[in-house]
Structure formats: structure tokens, C-alpha cells
Amino acid sequence: MIKNKILIIDDDEDFLEATAALLQAKGYQPICASNGQDGFQMAKTDSPDLIFLDLVMAYEDEGARIAEAMASDGAIRDIPVILVTGMKQKPGFKSQTVNLPVKAVLDKPVSPHELLKTVRTYM
């Protein structure tokens, strides 16, 4: 089976649409969730092959909590999660996220090349 289903969890609808358009154009099958709760549900029901997860959504640590919830859920714990955030340069970011169960952290604005490269690397 070809791995091409990518779940994008972000509260920014524009980002969701733009990312989905890019991934779709490149032959992937993007699915979108605009909050952590929905994202977690879709991860369980749709079995994506890769998850892009925003850190700050309605809550400051929503992304972090979802990442931890996914890692402790036996059914989906093996799906690679990539954190996508603008907070990478904020003081204290590193110490807050260093222990999160994610494969990589991408700094917003993400260049399309970096995004596609990450997809190729982890899928």
C-alpha cells in the first residue's frame, strides 16, 4: 500500500488550505483538522501516514498535549509527528519542547521545499 495520507492539524484555515493544495498537487492525500481534539480523532479514524501538528492553537500548549496524547495511544503512537510552529525562536522554546514525542520541528514560515523534503524523509 502506498503511503500518502497526511494529516495537517492547524487552527489557521489559510495555512491548512495552502498546505493541502501543495501536498495534493504533489500527489499526496492531505486531510485537515482545525483543532487538537478533531486532529486526535482523525488520527485514530483515518490512519494517516504522517502528521503535521501546530503547537499554539486555541491553547498555548494544545499541540504539545496532542503530541503526548498520540504518543501514549497504542493505535497511533507509531505515526510520525512533525511540529510546525512560529515559536522556534521564542526564548525558552527549546527547553519546553525538547522532550516532546515529535520527529522534527519546522519553523514557520516553512519553505515549500523544506516541507516536501520532510514529507519525503518521514514517510
Binding site: D14, A18, A21, L22, M87, P112, H113
Partner: protein
């Protein structure tokens, strides 16, 4: 070692001074007392000895007077009785006399003195009681050795009076004398006169003795059995000094049972020959006791004074130390943050008063400063919060918005959402360039604010310079380079590692490479190389470009400084990229500089090898 308190230090100093002064006074006092007493005793012994000599002379004069007064009496038995003499004779010839005194009197003048009466003459004088005058010689430990068991002669005080005819011829010599051996009247009389028979702890304070040669013949010195020590002898030392050399001997001496301060003087006959010794001695014990008594009083006085001074020292030390101790505890309170504590003004010492005043005003000022610091801290905390809010806003909002724009522009630009006409494509290229610049600017702005707030936390790890840093950067800039038809050569050794903070080094290298692409000549080359020498790794990034003028080199790494070179004025830049790069390299312990070449520029920077 635990430090001593000021009070104890002062007290210890005072006590040391008291101890030294007290000891010094005691020792000095002891020697002064000793000296004074010894001097006084010696003087007294000499006085007593002089008195004894005078009394001895007086005894001879008594005999003379008695004989003069009885010169008219022809019965010598009566004369002997009246004049209390042991013998009286009259001789007509000088030759027949054994007495040197008698012989001297034949020269025409009356004369008195001391002489020895030998055994033969003694037998003539006392045919019946001769043996009563024989003195048995007792063994005396310190005396000069002798084989004699008895003393068969006697010593006598004698006076001789010539009877002279009208034409001046000496007709006869009348003489009489008193034998001293076994006669204690004289010595007891002397003792009465000069010592008043005083006793000390059952012992006579003074003793008087007459020696014939070196043997005690009359004395009131008592032996161990409480009897007069007749027959004992003088010590060898005194014998030599007085009998042999004829000198007086004044010193302490152990006489039979006790230590005495003594004076020995030679007794000479009329011819000047030494035939005996006059001795007077004073019991040393009363004076020794007196000395100890005085010293005890002195010691008690010194001890009492020292004790009083020590007690006083305690209060003085307490008094002196108290303000300082108070100030120390106040300082401790202040150091714990209690600024309300004040030191009360105390004492009359100007330094302490001024110290107290200064201390209190200092405490007040510290309190004021503390308040103003707290206010400043509050402001700073507020500022920091605003800063964090701003950074949070830029990071989340601005970068989030940019994110979707970047992706959308890419999708359009790459015709992923359908084809564009030429004008649309051109406009989109412009948007794309500006968007890149905006993204870089936002990132640089955030990095700059981190640097200026010194929030760089350098987390070192071992990283591969090629794979982890330069390959990533090259890949990031390869499209921009391709757009300018530029080539990037990455010649770095894949095995080369450094100890550094990966994300920071990436920022630094990206900035240099970004500049190399932006300011590089279209169709030019970018050559990346590294050489590692000993402990230092030096990286070089060369690009074909307009060489930087020497005058501009210093400006290059300064914040917000941009160089205006012809043809490059359309290239957009914030002027903070190289500043950030320099900060990152410097904080890793390296350095960065630029080397302009004929055809371009080389940016060089160093690291310490991992």
C-alpha cells in the same frame, strides 16, 4: 579556626598585659626585696662584729684597770680575787718569762693582749686543776683534717705592767690574766649586750664564739644535744681565709645546726701572729622568713590588683565591644533584608558615634536603593513581559500569516493551481522575492532581539560541519543561486566535527551564504572550504563579487550598517545578518573577518575543534 569575638580579643589583650606587668612586678619585687634584705643583714653582721671587737678590747682594758687599781696590794691571792683574774705574777727577768706580753712590758710600757699559754706553763699555774682547762677536740665534718684529740694549751687575755726605778730602769713586771677556755661569762655578756638574748622559734637569734686557733673554746653556739659546742672546729674555708690569710670572713655559714649570717675576724697576739678567731653570727631564719613574708604580701597585692584589673578589663572590653557588636548584628539584620533596624547612639567615643551615624544613614540609603531597585525590577519585569508578548505575537501571528502566504505564492508560482499569464507570473515573482526578504527580516528581527537580551543559551553538542550545517544551508539557497545562474562548491571534509549549538551555527552560516548569493556576481561561483589546524578550524566562504573596500570592512559587522555599491542598491537587506553572525561566532569562542580578493570576497570564521 573559629574567629574570636571582638570582646574576647580585647579581653585577651588586656589579660596578657596584666599578666606580663604582674609577672614583671613580682620578679622585680622579689629581687629588690632579696637585695635589700641581704644588704641589711650584711650591714648588721658587720655592726655586730665591730661591737664584739670593741667589747673584746674592753675586756682587756678591764683587766688592765683591775691590775692598776690593785697595784698596791702585794698579796696576789687577794689581787686575783678582787680583780677576778685567773693568775697574777711578778717577774724580774725578761728571760724567764714564757709570755710575749711580759717580755714586751720589759721595754718600759704597760701592755695588754691575747696570748697562748702552753701546757708546761699551764701546769705551773694550775698544778691541781690543770686538766679542767684541757679541751677535747670534737669531730667536725667540714673542718680541716686533724689528728689531735685534745687541745693542751689555752688562750688568755693578759695585761703586763712594768715597775720602773727612779732612774728609769725596769725592775720587775707585774702581770695577770684571764683564761677564756671554758669561761662563758664573756660570750654570754656579749650576747646579752648585742643580741639582748633574743630567741626565734626556740633558738637564740645571735651566737658569739672565741676560737683558739680553729677550735671553739668558749661559745654560746649549741650542738644537737643542746650543749655548748666547745671543742668543735671552724670550717676549712674559714680556716684558710681567716687563720691562713688573716682576712675577715663575712658570709652565710651553716653553724652546727642552722644557717647563720656570720662574721669571723682574726685574733692576733702582741707580735701580730694570728692565734684565734672572734666570731659573731645571726640566725638567718628570721630574715628568710621576713623575706618570704614580705614577698607573700607583695604577691597577694599583685594578685589582688591583677584580679581586680581582670574584672575591670571584662567590663571595659564589654563596653568597647558592645557598639561594634550591635552594629555587626544590625549589619546581619540588614543583610537579611530588615532595613528598619537602627543602631542606637551609644557611648561618648567620637569614632563610635560617627560610625553609628554613618552606619544608620548607610542603612537608610541601602533601604532607599532597595526600594528603587524593586521599582526598577518591577518596570523591567513589565518590559520583559511586553517584550515576550511582542515576540510571541510576531512568532505566532506574523510568522503564521507568512506561512500560508509563502505556500500559496509557491503554489501559484509553480502553476500548481493552474497556468498564469506572463504579467501575472512577473508580478508573482516580485511578490515571491519580497516575501523571501520579509521572512528573512522577521527571523533576523527575532534573532537580534534574542542577542540583545542576551538570551542566547549555547547548548553544545558534537555536530558534523558538512552534513548538519553546510549541506542544509546549500540546499536552502540552491534555488536562489540557480536563479542567478550561480554555482556553489561545497568542499568541506565530511568527517569534520565541532562542539557547537547546531541551531545557532545554522543561523550564522545561513546568513553568510544568504549574503553570498544575494551580493554575488550573476553567473559567479561560491566556494566553501574548511581547514583544520591543531585546535582551530577555519571556514572560508568565497564568492565572486565586487570586492569590499578596505574602508568598509569595519562597518560590515555593525548593526544596521549597509554598504552602497553600484548595482547592488536594488538588493534588499536589513543590515543585521552579519551582526548576528558575528555575535554567534564570538560567543562560541571564535572570530570572523572578511578578506577582499581581486575577483570577490572571502568571509572567514573560526571554531575551536571539538
Amino acid at each position: 579556626m573559629k574567629p574570636k569575638t571582638l570582646k574576647n580579643t580585647l579581653l585577651l589583650s588586656f589579660l596578657s598585659v596584666i599578666f606580663i606587668l604582674g609577672s614583671f612586678t613580682a620578679i622585680l619585687g622579689f629581687y629588690l626585696i632579696q637585695d635589700q634584705i641581704v644588704a641589711r643583714i650584711q650591714k648588721e653582721v658587720i655592726d655586730k662584729s665591730n661591737s664584739l671587737s670593741l667589747l673584746y678590747e674592753g675586756e682587756i682594758n678591764n683587766i688592765a684597770q683591775s691590775l692598776e687599781l690593785t697595784s698596791a696590794i702585794s698579796d696576789f691571792t687577794v689581787v686575783k680575787k678582787v680583780a677576778k683574774l685567773d693568775y697574777v705574777y711578778e717577774v724580774s727577768s725578761e728571760e724567764t718569762s714564757n709570755s710575749n706580753i711580759v717580755r714586751a712590758a720589759f721595754k718600759g710600757k704597760s701592755i695588754g693582749g691575747t696570748r697562748i699559754i702552753r701546757e708546761g706553763e699551764l701546769k705551773k699555774i694550775f698544778p691541781k686543776s690543770y686538766s679542767d682547762y684541757i679541751t677535747a677536740i670534737e669531730y667536725t665534718p667540714k673542718a680541716s683534717p686533724t689528728s689531735k684529740k685534745t687541745l693542751n694549751s689555752v688562750i688568755a687575755l693578759e695585761y703586763a705592767q712594768p715597775v720602773i726605778s727612779q732612774n728609769g730602769e725596769v725592775l720587775t713586771v707585774r702581770y695577770g690574766g684571764r683564761i677564756l677556755n671554758g669561761d662563758f661569762k664573756f660570750v654570754d655578756k656579749v650576747n646579752d649586750i648585742i643580741f639582748a638574748r633574743t630567741q626565734y622559734k626556740g633558738k637564740p637569734i645571735g651566737t658569739v664564739t672565741i676560737f683558739q686557733d680553729d677550735v671553739r673554746v668558749t661559745t654560746n653556739v649549741l650542738n644537737n644535744e643542746g650543749k655548748r659546742a666547745v671543742g668543735t672546729r671552724v670550717s676549712e674555708e674559714v680556716y684558710q681565709e681567716v687563720l691562713q690569710r688573716g682576712e675577715s670572713w663575712i658570709n652565710r655559714a651553716f653553724v652546727v645546726t642552722d644557717w647563720y649570717l656570720t662574721a669571723y675576724r682574726p685574733i692576733k697576739n702582741v707580735e701580730g701572729k694570728i692565734i684565734g678567731i672572734l666570731y659573731v653570727g645571726m640566725l638567718e631564719k628570721p630574715l628568710v622568713d621576713l623575706r618570704w613574708h614580705i614577698f607573700l604580701i607583695l604577691f597577694l597585692v599583685i594578685s589582688g590588683t591583677a584580679f581586680g584589673s581582670a574584672v575591670l578589663s571584662y567590663f571595659i572590653a564589654h563596653h568597647i565591644a558592645k557598639p561594634v557588636t550591635n552594629m555587626a548584628s544590625a549589619a546581619e539584620k540588614i543583610s537579611q533584608g530588615d532595613f528598619s533596624y537602627k543602631v542606637l547612639k551609644q557611648g561618648k567615643v567620637s569614632e563610635i558615634i560617627s560610625l553609628t551615624t554613618v552606619f544608620n544613614s548607610m542603612a537608610e540609603r541601602i533601604q532607599e536603593r532597595e526600594k528603587s531597585l524593586q521599582t526598577s525590577n518591577g518596570k523591567l519585569e513589565k518590559l520583559n513581559k511586553s517584550y515576550l508578548d511582542l515576540v510571541g505575537f510576531v512568532s505566532h501571528e506574523l510568522k503564521g500569516i507568512l506561512s500560508s502566504i509563502v505556500l500559496n505564492v509557491y503554489n501559484l508560482n509553480k502553476n500548481l493551481l493552474g497556468p498564469l499569464n506572463e504579467a501575472q507570473q512577473k508580478a508573482l515573482n516580485s511578490i515571491s522575492r519580497n516575501l523571501n526578504y520579509l521572512s528573512e527580516t522577521v527571523k533576523n528581527f527575532l534573532n537580534l532581539s534574542r542577542i540583545e537580551k542576551e538570551e542566547f543559551e549555547i547548548k553544545r553538542s558534537s555536530i558534523f560541519l558538512k552534513k548538519d550545517v553546510f549541506d542544509e544551508a546549500c540546499e536552502y539557497f540552491i534555488r536562489q543561486a540557480e536563479e542567478k545562474n550561480m554555482q556553489i562548491e561545497n568542499n568541506i571534509d565530511p568527517e569534520l566535527t565541532i562542539e557547537a549549538d547546531l541551531s545557532l551555527i545554522q543561523i550564522a552560516v545561513n546568513n553568510i551564504l544568504s549574503n553570498a548569493v544575494k551580493y554575488g556576481r550573476t553567473g559567479g561561483k561560491i566556494i566553501i572550504s574548511c581547514k583544520s589546524e591543531t585546535e582551530v578550524i577555519e571556514c572560508k566562504i568565497y564568492n565572486d563579487a565586487m570586492p569590499i573596500e578596505a574602508a568598509d570592512i569595519d562597518k560590515l559587522f555593525k548593526k544596521f550598517s549597509r554598504l552602497n555599491y553600484q548595482g547592488l542598491d536594488k538588493v534588499k537587506g536589513t543590515g543585521i545578518g552579519l551582526f548576528i553572525t558575528k555575535e554567534i561566532i564570538t560567543r562560541h569562542g571564535g572570530s570572523i573577518w572578511v578578506e577582499p580578493q581581486a575577483t570577490g570576497n572571502t568571509f572567514c570564521f573560526t571554531f575551536k575543534r571539538s
